[in-house]
């Protein structure tokens, strides 16, 4: 009997020893929490990035989906994770918007930014046979018929919903916002003619626009979208409005600076990897690198902007 106890103890000790020896970061795989459903825009780009970065980091980079609440569930979990660099969060624009709309357990300050990866324009799509041919026609109709145009989005309080809300404020119109459970269902509803327009961010809806079934009726960006160079931005048409969606990576606040640097360098190399660049291009996603300081500045700016915007919309 005692022999068995000794044997078990020996085995246990042997198992524990490897952990006791100090090692460099990263010792094991790194997890990225994606606060959106698998197969969505954010999920895809980070899966591709995770794959290419694994090679440069030396350890596997794994994606964990935590969808819900326009990102609330995932952001909350990511902000509360241990700041040891093994649990990162994919942060996108809504992280600076959500805290102003609902009481959240996080703000952008709960995170230590590592790197920004993507900056995509947002847009409204309509069916190819829709009566509105230009942004102007669409906006004029909306102004004359408040609450009549149904605009779908990928979830209440989500990024594209807010874009739609901000846009209607900017042009003095009122839409009828219909939430769906994700970008896929909202685009489907448009294709079936159940709603008039849909608010999306690439790659949602891109395939259908390429195929000619849907049209971009309003493009919210500072520059034209390289994939569709004939579509003017709303800025060009006299509406001073532009709202893109950035997507980057962050660690919980308090993660040691050298860990952040190691992660940043690895992900930067992953971003520059030719295979990843090709993936991004195929997905019609615009890569836009920002380092930790620049990314933090961007988040702070957006946070202030949205604080004002949400307060105004509440009036």
């Amino acid at each position: 009997m005692s022999k068995k106890i000794v044997l078990s103890l020996v085995i246990l000790t042997l198992l524990v020893i490897p952990a006791a020896a100090p090692a460099a970061f990263p010792e094991k795989e790194v997890q990225i929490i994606v606060p959106y459903a698998a197969g969505g825009a954010t999920d895809l780009i980070f899966r591709a990035l995770a794959e290419s970065t694994s090679r440069y980091l030396g350890k596997a980079v794994v994606i964990v989906n935590r969808p819900g609440g326009g990102g609330t569930v995932g952001f909350t979990e990511g902000a509360q994770a241990k700041p040891d660099g093994y649990t990162l969060t994919a942060v996108i624009t809504p992280v600076t918007i959500l805290p102003h709309q609902v009481k959240t357990a996080f703000t952008y300050k709960s995170f230590a930014p590592i790197i920004n990866v993507v900056d995509d324009p947002s847009m409204f799509l309509v069916k190819a046979d829709s009566p509105w041919k230009t942004t102007k026609e669409f906006v004029d109709y909306a102004r004359k018929n408040p609450g009549m145009i149904t605009v779908g989005n990928s979830g209440a309080g989500g990024g594209v919903h807010l874009v739609a809300l901000a846009f209607e404020k900017a042009v003095g119109a009122r839409f009828n916002h219909i939430p769906f459970a994700g970008g896929g269902p909202s685009v489907t509803a448009l294709m079936g003619g159940h709603i008039n327009a849909v608010s999306v961010s690439p790659p949602e809806g891109i395939a259908q626009v390429k195929a000619g079934k849907l049209r971009i009726i309003a493009l919210f960006a500072d520059e034209r979208f390289e994939l569709f160079p004939n579509v003017p931005t709303v800025k060009e048409q006299g509406i001073p409005f532009s709202m893109g969606m950035w997507r980057g990576l962050a660690a919980p606040k308090g993660t040691p600076a050298d860990v952040v640097k190691t992660l940043h360098d690895a992900f930067r190399k992953g971003m520059e990897d030719p295979a990843f660049k090709k993936n991004a291009h195929d997905m019609s996603v615009k890569l836009f690198y920002l380092g930790p300081q620049a990314f933090e500045k961007r988040m702070a700016e957006d946070d202030q902007y949205f604080a004002k915007l949400v307060a105004e919309m509440r009036k």
Binding site: Q31, A38, G39, G68, G69, V73, G155, A156, T188, A207
Partner: protein, 504 residues
Amino acid sequence: MLESLQHLFAGFGVATTTVNLTYCLIGAIVGTLVGVLPGLGPIAGIALLIPATFGLSPTTALIMLAGIYYGAMYGGSTTSILLNVPGETASVITCIDGYRMAQKGRAGAALAICAIGSFIAGTLAIFGMVFLAPPLAEAALAFGPAEYFSLMVCGFVVLSNVTGGSIVKSLMMAVVGLIIGTVGLDPVTGDARFTFGTTYLLGGIEFVAVAIGLFGIGEILSNVGKPQAALDQSVTVPRLKELYPSLQDLKQSIGAILRGAGIGFGVGLVPGPAPVIATYASYMVEKKTSRHPETFGHGAVEGVAGPEAANNAACQSAFIPLFVLGIPFAPPTAILLGALLIHGVVPGPMMISEHPEVFWGVIASMYIGNFILLLLNLPFVPLFANILRIPKRVLLPLVMVFCITGMYTVNNSIPDIWVMLLFGVIGYTMRIGGFEGAPLLLALVLGPKLEVAFRQALMISHGDFGVFLSRPISAFFLAATFLFLCVPLVRAAARRWQARANPA
């Protein structure tokens, strides 16, 4: 049509290259493994292997990932039959009659019928895909919020009492399922409901936790208190001649399989958790059309063959909206969409013309994949059936370990395991009181979607309830529901009237 056949032959050329065949096989094996292990589902399996496909051509990548998807459907029924643990969310119904068959020593027959039925249904569904894909996809688009609502109400009412017994008890269980489904974030306004301040509940209650808990853990717990003598025994010792289905079984099942394939194919086109709904619908149909409905719930082979066939057919037809419209209707196809995008293939209306080798290659490989799975699964039937020889004393702990492990793999979340255990205890107490778990699960799946569709429809129509009746498809389903509820009442009333008119 001739052109499609030509393309199909070309597709077979693509699908039968050594590389593609190998990856098809790998996908099928991984899929079966993933399906057999409780909790781990095709979503996790596909997502985990996407990185492994980065160096491959898009066709090969998709062949392997698709193989995982329908492979998981084949494997999911294995634990349902052997252990009453749903290996897949869609295998819940298979537990009902499949497990009873296993307890009677007919596990082998059940497993084999599943494999055969899945093969036939899968093959038929692929034919359907090839020739009917584009018009069907367009038809699926006609479903908007109002139509969904009516469809789901119809499904809900019709399928709630799928296991028979008291209608009131089933409805109560269904309402409990609906209530559980409201926990989490309100999909329309984004406010938290019933979360009691925890972040875990923000994501709602995980369906898989409830399914494995109610069925699997519940079954374990009801065996755990038994005296030592009972624990020495195994669930059953399969007899050699019962390891494979008899001719009688096959004859009885073929009708169920064909009907199941048709039902699954149709239901798979509708967005949402189509395979689950398809299995419930098939079970219901089989029960109603059977000549001896009282055997259902006690090991009727049609109750296993039909739902499994429907399950597989629904999986195959789920590819139609993905390929033709470029829109995924369920989480597994959403991930496949992602995988395609990463490889530079944009599914959608352009896919067939721009990348015909991908489309037809994948379809051809589906035939091959289904065949491979049949060959894989049949010889393993005796092996799996012999798992039941393990004495309960050892088997029960093993099953518990696998349930816990499998549960964790779904969301990497330990709270999920607690929920599973909680529902295990709840399932156990439900059995004591004689309440069924199947209606609860169906309601949990349909509930949130029902609510969302209802509110969406009303938002679009500006509060006008008439929208549900003015749109033809929606009106059709509501009328069907109404008839379903009224016909038995009318008949009962007519009988009483007749009895009063001619007192015997």
